[in-house]
């Protein structure tokens, strides 16, 4: 990710040559296209893991199943936290777009980070509760598939949170410069993507599991 491809929305009069698709906004668009491609690839990873889960729902091998293990109120709260974080990160992207200033931008990002961390805390708590009820991943094919899918999403949220913290660190050092802007744009895409995946998890794993 070279600086040659870094964005500037004020048409940087850079040294790159006219006609060469490397200056300013066009370069930023290229990076975003690449990030969309990454998200597509990541979506296939989730798709394969979903497929593993769906084909393994009956493979409880005599161990506990969804009814015994899932804590729906907690999951509902996690869903609310994550959807709220999608709202706050959306507000952060609006703060960036309409130049509301760094304090507001950082405020929305910190709110997102807090919601993400709270989500992770609840999720880890749920996993521990499941393990205490005999629902550890090595118990059955079903639980292996569950612990592939849901923690994979959690790992993504954790990665996104670290990324977010790093972007705030970069802002502290350099202000809201072109790499930071481009980083936030990609982080927002990533965060919304994880929200969509969570909605699929909530439907396919938790709701379908309770029917």
């Amino acid at each position: 990710m070279s600086d040659a491809a870094m964005p500037d929305f004020t048409r940087r009069p850079g040294p790159a040559e006219r006609g060469d698709d490397e200056d300013g906004e066009a370069g930023a668009q290229s990076v975003l296209v690449g990030f969309w491609l990454f998200l597509m690839s990541d979506a296939i990873i989730f798709g394969m893991v979903f497929a593993t889960y769906v084909t393994s729902t009956a493979a409880t091998a005599g161990g506990p199943g969804p009814h015994a293990l899932y804590d729906i109120p907690s999951v509902a709260l996690q869903t609310v936290l994550l959807l709220a974080s999608s709202f706050t990160v959306g507000m952060a992207s609006l703060a960036l777009k309409y130049r509301h200033g760094a304090p507001r931008l950082i405020g929305w990002l910190l709110a997102t980070l807090a919601l993400g961390v709270a989500f992770l805390g609840l999720e880890i708590h749920d996993f521990q509760a499941m393990a205490a009820k005999g629902g550890s991943p090595s118990r059955s094919g079903f639980l292996s598939a569950f612990f592939d899918l849901v923690p994979l999403h959690g790992l993504h949220v954790a990665g996104g949170s670290i990324w977010l913290a790093c972007l705030i660190g970069q802002m502290a050092m350099y202000g809201v410069d072109a790499p930071v802007k481009l980083g936030i744009l990609r982080l927002v895409l990533f965060w919304h993507f994880l929200d969509i995946v969570w909605i699929a998890i909530f439907s396919v794993v938790y709701l379908a599991g309770m029917t």
């Binding site: 070279s2 040659a4 006609g19 698709d21 490397e22 491609l37 790093c166």
Partner: protein, 703 residues
């Protein structure tokens, strides 16, 4: 995994029994000595190779050059060259393994000299290396070097990610290499089916080496796919519409899309197998609800598109080679593009033909069988397009052209046996025999390897500025073609006679003559490889008389030929404007090639970054730690990799400027060389009269 455990076993399960000669010393029976000697000899070659490389680098004081000019370079051209070098090194190992295997089978009547376990490691490493560490880096290298030049840009969208991909691929390759020296490799074949590769049956390090080598390679290929696809979508020169793209770029784009979508299933499959092995999960185990079929589906959802990731870029090379050496525009460009896309799409709908016999109902087999046969249609379109391109062209039998013509004959044959195998009823008869081995080598060697070698000969003058020796190239190409036929045609017959694939030995004397013929073929293929090495040696020694600095030795048609050979680091002093297909041919015909610019401007290029080699090194050590359960190394490397990535995010000032003055100086120097060189006719292009400037084509020939 407690702290106490880590302290008690700082080297995990690594001990002296991991050395390849230990068993032979403990129990010097005849079999142990033979197998131990072969394994130790191979390990010794790796060690000597590594020591020799280090010694030469030190002696000639090239460490700094290696680091600052190559390893940390974000230049797509240098990354491309390093990929191809990696591919050649790995090709030597995997080809030698093939010879050992053929020798074992030739003497395999009621025995032979290899133990079954050793033989199983040989076919597992041979397949794994040939696919992930020969074909993939080779084609990735060609794509990296050529695509940005063909579309008229200065670099890929993510230059540092490109260097990371190379680092991860090299780490995977290094992991396979070090498995020769410590421990053993998997015996589970290149697709590593569980439950055989589960900890219950295979508690050793072999499957772990395989898992982590593939994981690194698949991540690297995913990143490469993203990078190349984004580059082709976004960085084409002004006027370069998608339907103006050279065919090689089209195939590279399709292969990249396949990498983006087909690599994730492999990543998931190897990750799940690792979780089974390391943490006692039950994805693919026999007990507690594991399901082997999930693995088989995941693997081939990757595995079949992978076949087309491998073959499509080679088909692109053939399109370029046949059109250039026929001095004609490609026949049926539009149908060629459609055929490429059709193959890419269909490739996702056929994976089940890899396991027709594994228990699904007949209707499902029929659907996948029909889909598999359908691929023959776009492939057939391509074959006809290439033949029509040659018709009434000014055809020259250069080395790449010999490969291309050999390919057309042999690939049709491989395709026909593929159509046979696509019929589930026939597949039931010949599956798991060497008929199948003959079939996929019949597509992979002419289809993939010949194409990559044709590309190597075709573009070598562009990359290094001098042509390769034609005579040794001919020797090599002939040996590849004849050796291939001798080595693999007998396997069709052996397969129909019932020889199962992967047999270390057999008890049917009728197999012996055909096995010996196949061994002779393997020896001829070794000669072909040696001829390639000799060719490189001779070509380097005689490079001064074969220089083509002007850059257009073959009367090329696409933009990579419109710059000097080797190209400047920024590729184009002035970004070209494209008005049609075969952009350079159009420029030459309209007199716009080799024009000085009215004004030169500063060019911004990415600065070197250590992230690629650092992530390569840490991921290698991380994978090694995982294989041997050296947990402190795992934690350390994971932390280092994350820290390096985060630190990279904090880096600013990551570009540098090539001043306009220097661009102008380089460009003028090249234009002077072009003006001073004598344009040569197509008759003289293989003589030292060729300085890289082509005579204008005769009327009509370029139509």
């Amino acid at each position: 995994m407690s702290v106490g455990g880590i302290l008690a076993h700082p080297l995990g399960r690594l001990d002296r029994e991991s050395l390849p000669f230990w068993q032979m010393l403990q129990d010097p029976s005849r079999d142990n000595v033979i197998n131990g000697s072969i394994a130790s000899g191979a390990a010794l070659m790796v060690v000597i190779g590594a020591i020799a490389t280090i010694a030469l680098l030190t002696k000639y004081r090239k460490w700094r050059v290696l680091w600052s000019q190559w390893l940390t370079s974000p230049d797509h051209k240098k990354i491309g060259i390093m990929y191809v070098v990696l591919a050649f090194v790995m090709l030597v190992r995997a080809a030698l393994e093939a010879v050992v295997m053929r020798a074992q089978q030739a003497f395999g009547l009621d025995g032979g000299f290899l133990s079954p376990d050793h033989f199983a490691q040989l076919f597992s490493t041979h397949g794994t290396i040939m696919i992930f560490f020969v074909a993939m880096p080779f084609l990735t290298g060609l794509i990296n070097y050529i695509v940005p030049l063909q579309i008229g840009t200065r670099d890929v969208v993510f230059p540092v990610l490109n260097s990371i991909s190379l680092g991860l691929t090299a780490a995977g390759a290094a992991l396979v290499m070090i498995s020769l020296c410590v421990g053993e490799f998997s015996t589970g074949g290149w697709f590593g089916y569980p439950p055989y590769t589960e900890a219950d049956f295979n508690p050793g390090v072999g499957p772990d080496y395989w898992i982590w080598a593939l994981t690194l390679a698949s991540l690297a290929s995913t990143f490469t796919g993203i990078n190349i696809a984004a580059t082709v979508y976004r960085k084409r020169a002004p006027g370069m519409k998608l339907m103006y793209l050279p065919l090689f770029t089209w195939t590279a784009l399709c292969a990249s899309i396949l990498m983006i979508f087909a690599m994730p299933p492999l990543t998931v499959a190897t990750a799940q197998l690792a979780l089974d092995r390391y943490l006692g999960f039950h994805y693919f185990t026999n007990a507690l609800g594991g399901n082997v079929m999930n693995y088989v589906n995941l693997f081939w959802m990757f595995g079949h598109p992978e076949v087309y990731i491998l073959v499509l870029p080679s088909l692109g090379v053939y399109s370029e080679v046949i059109s250039t050496f026929s001095a004609k525009a490609l026949f049926g460009y539009r149908s060629m593009v459609m055929a490429t896309m059709a193959i890419a799409v269909l490739s996702f709908a056929v994976w089940l033909h890899h396991f027709f016999t594994m228990g699904q109902e007949a209707n499902i087999n029929a659907a996948f069988g029909i889909a598999s046969m359908l691929i023959g249609i776009p492939t057939g379109v391509k074959i006809y397009d290439w033949m029509w391109t040659m018709v009434r062209g000014r055809v020259r039998f250069t080395v790449p052209m010999i490969y291309a013509i050999g390919f057309i004959y042999l690939f049709v044959l491989g395709g026909i046996t593929g159509i046979l195998l696509a019929s589930p009823t026939i597949d039931y008869q010949v599956h798991n025999t060497v008929f199948l081995v003959a079939h996929f080598h019949n597509t992979a060697i002419p289809g993939v390897l010949f194409g990559l070698l044709a590309g190597y000969h075709f573009w070598f003058p562009k990359v290094f500025g001098f042509r390769l020796d034609e005579r040794l190239g001919m020797v090599s190409a002939t040996c590849w073609i004849v050796g291939f036929m001798l080595a693999f045609f007998p396997l069709y017959a052996l397969g129909l006679m019932g020889l199962p694939r992967r047999s270390v030995s057999y008890d049917v004397p009728a197999y012996v003559p055909l096995e010996i013929a196949a061994l002779l073929g393997a020896i001829l293929l070794t000669v072909a490889l040696l001829a390639l090495v000799a060719q490189l040696w001779v070509s380097i020694r005689t490079r001064e008389e074969n220089r083509v600095f002007a850059g257009d030795p073959w009367d090329g048609r696409s933009l990579e030929w419109s710059v000097s050979a080797p190209p400047p680091e920024y590729n184009f002093a002035v970004i070209p404007t494209v008005t049609g297909r075969d952009a350079f041919t159009v420029a030459k015909e309209t007199g716009r090639a080799f024009e000085p610019a009215s004004a030169y401007v500063d060019i911004e290029l990415p600065r070197n970054s250590a992230l690629g080699p650092v992530l390569g090194a840490t991921s290698f050590a991380l994978a090694f730690g995982l294989v041997w359960h050296i947990w402190w190394l795992v934690i350390l490397c994971l932390a280092a990799a994350v820290a390096a990535t985060i630190a990279h995010g904090f880096a600013r000032n990551t570009t540098r400027i090539v001043p306009a003055q220097q661009v102008r100086r380089d460009h003028r120097r090249w234009l002077d060389a072009v003006a001073a060189a004598r344009a040569i006719s197509r008759d003289d292009e293989r003589t030292s009269a060729n300085r890289g400037v082509a005579e204008p084509a005769l009327g009509g020939a370029a139509a």
